[in-house]
Amino acid sequence: MAVTMAASESTGQVLAVDGVSVRLAGRQILDDVRFALGPGEFVGLIGANGAGKTTLLRVILGFQPTTAGSVRIGGEASAAAARGRGLVGYVPQKIQLDPDMPVRARDLVGLGLDGHRLGIPLPSRQRRQLVDEMLAAVDAGRFANQRVGNLSGGEQQRVMIAHALVSKPRLLLLDEPLANLDIRSAQEIIALLAKITRQQHVSVLISAHEMNPLLPVMDRVVYMAGGRAASGTTDEVIREDVLSELYGHHVDVINVHGRLLVVAHAGEGFEILAGDETAAAPAHPDHSPAGLEL
């Protein structure tokens, strides 16, 4: 009995994405994407804006129907079932929080615990303690009683992470949590995520168009281009042959003092496809529609 339990635990993937394709209005947004996340793995979902990262995360959450393929979370048959059991924590792309909304950081974290439940929450010492512990874990104790709309971008991200993790999920999905953050805040958020998720033994799938800040903490990478994905360790994926095939044209991978740049030749010059924040970001990152990367 103990042996079979251990066996199912070791083979039990937290997330299995199997041949997922999404076609919208005649455009192939995702094309046969397949990869898996084991327990406690920290995986970066890397790609330029429009590569399909947000759509893939929405498929995993069950917000976006697939044209083909399937997603399994913790052995649950449907995303809805996984959500119902609180298996998935989610930090969406930057959302506008109204400063006039009287929702404090601690209220939002509390809603991560029981926001789906009916009725008025009764004051409970256990609930308060869980919320306080989570706020302390993301170093948000200082602003626990401030309205979330009044917090800075980095502070809001901490509260969002606390909201997503307070229910002790097995899988944490983060959609571009580092976008719009300065480099120092971004590094703080990454260090924080790596620490807490290792403590809680949560699997992480974090999307980013800039992979270098994530290199020290990533166990594996899912690299996306044009709706297709390659997954493996950084050494296995961030290579000229693998990425050239993924992009469908030749690309170079350049190592600049430990920073990786993916570069394509474009006419006389060249274009940095991934790796560098300034080059990889489009001219107006805020203008891309939130729900769908196209």
Binding site: F63, R83, P92, G115, R117, L118, S167
Partner: protein, 290 residues
């Protein structure tokens, strides 16, 4: 002290039966409007509240033709319109503007016809005034159970769905990821708004219903720090404005020009407006010093 008391409460205030009824019905409508209004503002649905108020004119004017309580008409069209808005894509911002615009236009067109018939059949303009600007002093005691019967479900909806509503007003994606059935929750909230608007239409009139729905909530959201307190404060502010409005309207029977009393709705809406301006000014000075 007693002079001030006598100045505020004109003789006969505490023994007048229409005043008692107005205090009870106005109080219920105010609590429901304030509490539900808090969620309306939090969810950014003031626009929906406004559209539902406009449409309740249609139901209110029709109910006079059918000789039933206008509350049935107000609430009937409101709940129906809430369902229609949900079906034709009220959740998408662009679909929302178009859908409400068209439904609202059609509804008000019907209202014009019904009000015309109301006026010609009774040969008085009283019905139009009642539907548009309320009729707190002429409602009659018998309406109290009906008002409660419409108010309780509205309060029940926002009480039961308190947490899902709050979370989905922060972000619908966040709520969906937490297992909230976002669309069903939104529809239930729209029904609660429709019921609250119909009660407000009954007291301050269909035209001014949104003021009672949105005004106290806007004040409460400024001065409180937690969602729970904001909800309670909105209810209390709405009741205070309504009751004080009734007192002033009763006093105004001695006022010029006609010594016939000024409309209650006027006082209630002015009180809410003054309150909102006051917290707006106070809020700004607090932000500068803080």
């Amino acid at each position: 002290m007693s002079a001030v008391f006598r100045l505020l409460f004109a003789p006969g205030f505490f023994t007048s039966s229409p005043v008692h009824t107005a205090l009870v019905i106005g109080g219920i409508a105010a609590v429901v409007s304030g509490v539900v209004g808090c969620f309306t503002v939090l969810r950014g649905q003031s626009y929906a509240g406004h559209a539902l108020a406009d449409l309740s004119v249609t139901g209110g004017s029709a109910s006079f033709l059918a000789s039933i309580s206008p509350l049935w008409g107000f609430a009937g069209t409101g709940v129906l319109a809430a369902g229609v808005m949900d079906v034709i894509g009220f959740r998408r911002p662009r679909g929302r503007d178009l859908a409400t615009g068209i439904v609202r236009g059609a509804g008000l067109g019907l209202a014009a016809l019904f009000l015309y018939w109301d006026t010609t059949s009774t040969s008085t303009t009283g019905v139009a005034i009642t539907v548009l600007f309320g009729s707190m002093f002429t409602i009659g005691n018998s309406a109290v159970p009906l008002v409660a019967a419409f108010g309780i479900p509205a309060l029940a909806i926002v009480t039961i769905l308190y947490r899902p509503l709050l979370l989905s007003s922060v972000s619908s994606d966040l709520a969906a990821a937490r297992g909230v059935r976002v669309r069903l929750t939104g529809l239930a909230c729209l029904v609660a708004i429709a019921l609250a608007v119909s009660l407000a239409a009954m007291t301050v009139g269909a035209i001014l219903a949104t003021a009672l729905l949105v005004g106290p909530a806007a004040i409460a959201l400024r001065v409180t720090s937690t969602p729970g307190r904001a909800t309670l404060a909105a209810g209390l502010i709405a009741v205070a404005a309504t009751w004080l409005g009734i007192v002033l309207a009763y006093d105004s029977f001695n006022w010029p020009p006609s010594h016939d009393g000024w409309p209650v709705s006027f006082f209630i809406v002015v009180l809410i407006f003054v309150g909102f301006v006051a917290v707006q000014l106070f809020g700004r000075s607090r932000r500068v010093t803080g």
